[in-house]
């Protein structure tokens, strides 16, 4: 009892967190940061551009970046502000103008300052730039929006696109690793040094002979470690060795490295040595220069690219070698690159920054070129005229529209999944790994202990992307970057010493301190510093996003180290702070939060709750609940069920299922039909489904309330019996009650949007919307009956019944090539029919018609057709436990089994679905659902904290039912009692979007492909059904070769060709001379007709085009 009480209480905090932050917080934070700081930083990076003209050159200096509000520029030049819904409906891009202050500076004197429009930035829906960000629920409804829409996506040309979170290795971290290859172990130390838009990998390898080699990207060969250190300006060997470690064992291991560097004993020699390798065969002066620039730019660029950073770089190199040798000595353990502390996730802001940087550079280059060409004219207007806004606008729009980020990065954005509300939410919390899906990468795909509370353990796709595509857990919070100066200041106050100020004793016995990939210095007692740091953070003196990790090594000889992380993109999770065995969170605080007087942030500020990243969690001991807390614990979980992501959170009693079942359900929940948005009457999506009578599940999880799934449900509560039914539910098929179906169970609508716009062509011609008439000689006229539903404006009438082929938007276009027709046709050029018709295999009722205007000022119609889908044999359904199946039979109610009370199940599933799948959660849901129906209130089935099965059994017993959920049932056909009791209960079923109506297909004769004359492929093109190799094998085995010939030749692409028997090549019939001709043998040719497959003829000709002469040797058929 106390367990449940406590667990359900701290849930309130997490609930408050998600309610306030929303599920798309990580996107919005990242984007807002980019808008408020990122853009300015990028402008500052370039800062100015010099315009070199013949006389008086001048500069254009960049100032403040500001952003307008989202707007559209119409064809007539008028500007109007827009909202997301208008953008969707009119196929517009929801973007805002970027304005940059530009000052002309002549001879050091500022002249003219103007604000210039440099391009448009796509606006993230509900970000600070978005008009919707500060609207109330009522105002949102007024604007035609779903008030529950989380935002976090872009609208480009009317399509909603998400920049999916991208997982990346944390930059600037030294990771050491031991690789076993063919019996020998090599030790490696790697750093991915990253600065804005640029990454350089440093690799230190401990060779078999004991020497350390350094690999830098700009240098083609490996360099000896000591030589690099010398080149960095560390003069004495003692200093080089001490930079690694003053400890004797380590220094002994360095001896080989020093021996190997004997050919370059001085700084100069070392630079020449490197120069010889990066700039071979050049002048010595130039070689040294190149060596230095290699060190400044190619080596550890995150520490800076200037001369004065070389000392820091040498110290960092020292640490890299130190860790390497400590690993070699077995003093420390190898780093785990799958540890989530070594990962960061990049969201829209960072991705856009990369894109904007290159686009902005291109713009500046272009501007410079234009201005230099213009020459003497100068001033604000001239600068304005030299800016081509398209450079930025198009680059951003194209990248987001296609997901193509350049440099081989594809699939960065995706079309927002609007199948149902849950799939939208889940899509916004998705994280992609850049690892190749074609390689095994087993470890990277595995669930890691550090994923707990950060990444959902269940929700990942099956197949190639398994474990690479992840989803954030409910409790995951993405860190925002923390300014480093103040934190650094606090460290000095706490007794940390810079490297230069550390005496030898401290350097030997102390603890090394690192902050975001910088070697800061030493402190005598690392553990104490970490403790003090946390204390300050709890007191609110250090940003809660900052994290500290203290590592005390396995061997006392190795350095203890402190890592402070301030970067953005780390995955944090909230934990309750425990002090001397008592959680700091008390019921009073909880009731304040649930009462709305305080927020979860206040608890963070007062140090009751802490945000912990995966690194810092290594220093924590987290109790699962209040009853587990001991004095050893440092933290306590808020709510263990928050370890799941969005999709897995809807599963009731998931802890009772075999784990892959939860994974399957996580995938299927996203395919189930529901009420995706209250804007469905005007939803502008090309394909959309709507469940007619969706229900909130009676067996629920707390997450459902939190995510407001009840307002956007995705299934139906069904009475489900577990029983075999005359073989019609074998192999996962399900039986459905015909009367339930007739009463409207799982009925859905499918919407398809057809759109047509009137384009304008060169020469002033344009498309027109009209009913194409038979008289006016229109090319491609389909026949009167296809246009019968069109009204005077060329658009189909509202609520008319349409079938495949019926025209919904009548449109004619001007002839494609004006000249072409003049010669042959007396009547002059014909217009073409470019009407939009209903897809051949679809039908429905015209649901809604939108008429708008696109950006080019062309009239645009969107016609939406709806089709009612009543469940039928073959439609796919699934419970919330990964138990999917198709309808095998729809059975009249009188034939269905019934209980003594007269309850007839809606669904009958086969008992064989359970033993091997072990989805015990479904049994519990079934019993709980039944109890919920009896007691008239829903049951909480939240993971680890749900109402217990004993409680449910009590309810059932109280109503005179078996606590096991089993009941006496009678066969509807005979009225006989079944020999055994049947398990009946209430289970929530989801209708999945794979429906027979979308897939059913047959063909007799039909279209063929132009190239091969074989039947087309696919339902949409009325294609044939492939008679494949295995089917062929069957006929051969059966001895029915004639059937084979019939299918594959006679009824397929049978052709007659002429073959010259002398040369064996294809001949032809010359119609003018009326004779069969062979170009090779001329008069000697003996030409015969041969029946072959057209594809074979094509093969012969394709070979001929490759200069191969395929010769056929003909023989008479006996």
């Amino acid at each position: 009892m106390s367990k449940q009480f406590a667990a359900s209480n701290s849930w309130v905090i997490l609930s408050d967190l998600l309610q306030r932050e929303g599920v798309a917080r990580q996107h919005l934070n990242s984007y807002n940061e980019f808008v408020t700081r990122g853009l300015q930083n990028i402008a500052d990076e370039i800062n100015e551009v010099e315009i070199e003209t013949v006389s008086t050159p001048y500069k254009v200096k960049f100032g403040r970046v500001t952003l307008g509000s989202p707007r559209v520029v119409e064809i007539d030049g008028s500007v109007s502000s827009i909202l997301p819904m208008e953008s969707r409906l009119r196929n517009l891009t929801y973007s805002a103008p970027i304005l940059l202050e530009m000052t002309i500076e002549e001879e050091g004197l500022p002249r003219d300052t103007t604000r210039q429009h440099i391009g448009d930035l796509p606006v993230m829906v509900k970000s600070e730039l978005c008009q919707l960000s500060n609207r109330s629920r009522e105002q949102l409804i007024e604007s035609g929006e779903d008030p529950n829409d989380p935002g976090g996506y872009f609208i480009i040309h009317g399509a909603e696109r998400v920049i999916v979170g991208l997982e990346d290795l944390s930059p600037n971290k030294i990771l050491v690793d031991a690789e076993k290859l063919a019996g020998a172990t090599t030790y490696k130390s790697r750093v991915y040094s990253s600065v804005v838009g640029y990454r350089s990998k440093l690799e230190l390898t401990l060779k078999q002979d004991g020497g350390i080699n350094v690999k830098i990207p700009s240098c083609p060969v490996d360099l000896p470690y000591v030589i690099v250190m010398r080149a960095l300006g560390i003069k004495s060997d003692r200093d080089i060795a001490n930079a690694v470690s003053p400890k004797q064992e380590i220094q002994d291991l360095l001896e080989v490295s020093f021996d190997k560097a004997s050919e370059a004993p001085t700084e100069k020699d070392a630079l020449v040595y490197i120069g010889n390798r990066v700039a071979h065969g050049m002048l010595e002066e130039f070689r040294v220069k190149r060596a230095l620039s290699t060190l400044d730019w190619g080596l550890l660029p995150h520490l800076g690219k200037t001369e004065d950073r070389r000392f820091d770089k040498s110290m960092f190199m020292g640490e890299a070698a130190c860790k390497l040798l400590e690993l070699r000595l077995g003093w420390i353990e190898a780093d785990d690159k799958d540890h989530y502390g070594n990962k960061v996730i990049k969201f829209a802001g960072q991705m856009l920054a990369d894109l904007f940087r290159t686009a902005f550079r291109n713009l500046v280059r272009d501007m410079k070129y234009q201005l230099e060409r213009t020459g003497q004219k100068r001033g604000g207007n001239v600068v304005g005229a030299a800016i081509r806004t398209g450079i930025i606008t198009d680059k951003l729009n194209n990248a987001i529209a296609t997901g193509n980020w350049g440099r081989g990065k594809v699939g960065v954005t995706q079309l927002l999944d609007r199948t149902n509300y849950l799939s939208t939410l889940s899509h916004l919390r998705r994280v992609q790994s850049p690892l190749s899906r074609s390689q095994p990468n087993f470890e990277a795909r595995d669930l890691h202990a550090t994923h707990f509370g950060r990444i959902c353990p269940s929700e990942t796709p099956e197949g190639v992307n398994c474990g690479l595509v992840k989803n954030l857990a409910l409790s995951a919070i993405i860190s925002v970057s923390v300014p480093s100066q103040e934190v650094e200041g606090k460290l000095w106050e706490l007794g940390a010493k810079q490297i230069r100020d550390s005496d030898e004793k401290l350097q030997v016995e102390g603890c090394r301190i690192f902050m975001d990939g910088r070697f800061l210095g030493y402190v005598d007692d690392g553990e104490r510093l970490a403790k003090a740091f946390r204390k300050l953070r709890r007191e609110g003196q250090i940003n809660p996003s900052a994290s500290v990790l203290y590592i005390s090594p396995v061997n006392d000889n190795a350095y203890p180290r402190i890592y402070i992380s301030l970067s953005s993109g780390r995955v944090l999770r909230p934990l309750v702070v425990v002090e001397s065995g008592r959680p700091l969170l008390n019921p009073e605080m909880i009731s304040k939060v649930s009462g709305g007087q305080s927020a979860w942030r206040d608890l963070v500020d007062q140090g009751t709750i802490e945000l912990i990243d995966a690194n810092e969690e290594e220093n924590c001991l987290v109790a699962m609940g209040p009853e587990d807390v001991t004095t050893r614990n440092s933290h306590m979980e808020l709510f263990p069920a928050a370890m799941f992501g969005i999709a897995a959170s809807i599963i009731p009693y998931p802890e009772h299922n075999q784990s892959p079942r939860n994974t399957y359900e996580s995938a299927m929940a996203k395919q189930s039909l529901g009420f995706s948005s209250p804007t469905y009457p005007i939803s502008p999506h090309v394909r959309q489904h709507l469940l007619v009578s969706p229900q909130a599940p009676v067996v629920r999880t707390r997450t459902l309330d939190l995510l407001k799934i009840d307002e956007r449900p995705l299934g139906t509560n069904c009475v489900v019996a577990v029983l075999s039914f005359e073989g019609y539910n074998i192999e996962d098929a399900i039986i459905m009650n015909k009367s339930s179906v007739e009463r409207g169970m799982a009925r859905s609508f499918f919407y398809r949007l057809y759109d047509g716009e009137a384009k304008q062509y060169l020469g002033g011609m344009r498309d027109t919307f009209e009913v194409p008439s038979a008289e006016s000689n229109i090319r491609g006229y389909r026949g009167e009956k296809f246009y019968r539903l069109l009204e005077g404006d060329g658009v189909v009438a509202h609520e008319s019944q349409v079938a495949g082929g019926d025209v919904v938007i009548g449109r004619t276009s001007p002839p494609r090539f004006m000249e072409e027709y003049k010669e042959f046709e007396i009547k002059g050029p014909y217009r073409r029919d470019t009407s939009v018709a209903v897809r051949p295999s679809e039908a429905g009722v015209v649901d809604s018609i939108f008429m708008t205007e696109n950006v080019e000022g062309g009239k645009m119609f969107k016609v939406r057709v709806r089709d009612m889908r009543v469940p039928e044999i073959g439609d796919k359904f699934a419970s919330r436990h990964g138990q999917k199946g198709v309808i095998g039979l729809v059975v009249p109610q009188e034939d269905m089994p019934y209980t003594a009370e007269g309850i007839v199940p809606d669904v009958i599933i086969n008992p064989h679905a359970f033993p091997s799948r072990m989805t015990v959660g479904q049994f519990i849901e079934s019993i709980a659902g039944k109890a919920a129906a009896f007691r008239g209130s829903p049951v909480d089935g939240s993971a680890f904290a749900g109402e217990s099965i004993d409680e449910m059994e009590k309810v059932l017993r109280g109503r005179g039912f078996e606590p096991t959920g089993r009941e006496v049932m009678y066969d509807g056909k005979t009225g006989k009692k079944f020999a055994t009791d049947v398990f009946v209960g209430v289970v929530y079923y989801q209708k999945l979007h794979h429906m027979v109506a979308d897939k059913i297909h047959a063909r007799a004769r039909g279209q063929v492909q132009m190239l091969t004359k074989q039947p087309t492929e696919g339902r949409a093109r009325g294609g044939g059904l492939r008679f494949g190799e295995m089917e062929r094998d069957c006929l051969i085995a059966y001895g029915a070769s004639m059937v084979l010939k019939d299918r594959l030749l006679d009824e397929a692409d049978k052709t007659e060709i002429y073959v010259c028997e002398r040369c064996g090549l294809i001949a032809y019939y010359d119609a003018k001379q009326r004779k069969y001709t062979c170009k090779i043998d001329g008069d000697q040719a003996k030409i015969s007709t041969v029946v072959v497959a057209y594809a074979f003829k094509l093969l012969l000709q394709e070979m001929m085009s490759l200069n191969i002469a395929p010769r056929l040797q003909l023989k008479d058929k006996v």
Partner: protein, 208 residues
């Protein structure tokens, strides 16, 4: 045979000495063969509500309607021969509702019937919600039909045949949806079953 319960809406009979299959046939006839009234054809004159015409029509069909088997014929058995029906085989309902300033719920009670005795079983079944300015205007035709054709014509909600305490004793329980008294459902089921059996008897050449 013994009547265990007869409350109008529900009837329970103890049957003894008849075959289980015969008793079950009565149960099945109660569900699938006994005719009852339901709205079958809807002419929508105006619908600016959020529900589509077909969904509104479906909801109307599900409303249980008081049935008079004496005065009305099944359309296929009616002598009018009119595909649109006549006053003996169909009942007209009219619904005309307009949304006022507040969101209002249109219920089955708002359906106006041309026959006072043929009307919805309950007046409080919600049909549709209308916001200000939305309106619905329609004509709905109720007809007799059988449960085997569509669930809306099922006259009963519960029809069970369960084993009694002794061997060879069955209990037939029928709960009406409200259109017909439960007892009448059972009687009609027996009548129809007898009629069918008679047809078989005639077909195999037995005495009339």
């Amino acid at each position: 045979m013994k009547v265990l319960e007869d409350s109008g809406s529900s009837v329970a009979l103890q049957l003894e000495g008849i075959d289980r299959s015969y008793a079950n046939a009565i149960r099945r006839f109660c569900i699938a063969e006994v005719p009852s009234m339901a709205i079958d054809d809807v002419v929508i004159l105006e619908n600016s509500s959020v529900l589509y015409d077909e969904i509104l029509a479906h909801r109307l069909g599900m409303v249980p309607i008081r049935t008079d088997l004496e005065r009305y014929n099944l359309p296929e058995e009616c002598d009018c021969g009119n595909p649109l029906g006549c006053h003996k085989c169909r009942v007209l309902f009219v619904l005309d509702a307009k949304g006022k300033d507040k969101v209002m719920t249109v219920t089955s009670g708002d359906l106006v019937s041309e026959d006072r005795d043929v009307r919805p079983v309950s007046e409080s079944i919600p049909l549709i919600k209308l916001a200000a300015g939305q309106s619905v205007k329609l004509e709905a035709y109720a007809r007799l039909g059988r449960g085997k054709e569509h669930a809306k014509w099922q006259p009963c909600t519960v029809a069970t045949l369960t084993d009694g305490k002794k061997e060879g004793v069955f209990i037939l329980t029928v709960e009406s949806a409200g259109g017909l008294p439960a007892k009448q459902v059972v009687l009609k089921a027996i009548e129809l079953l007898e009629k069918k059996l008679k047809e078989i008897q005639v077909a195999v050449g037995g005495p009339d």
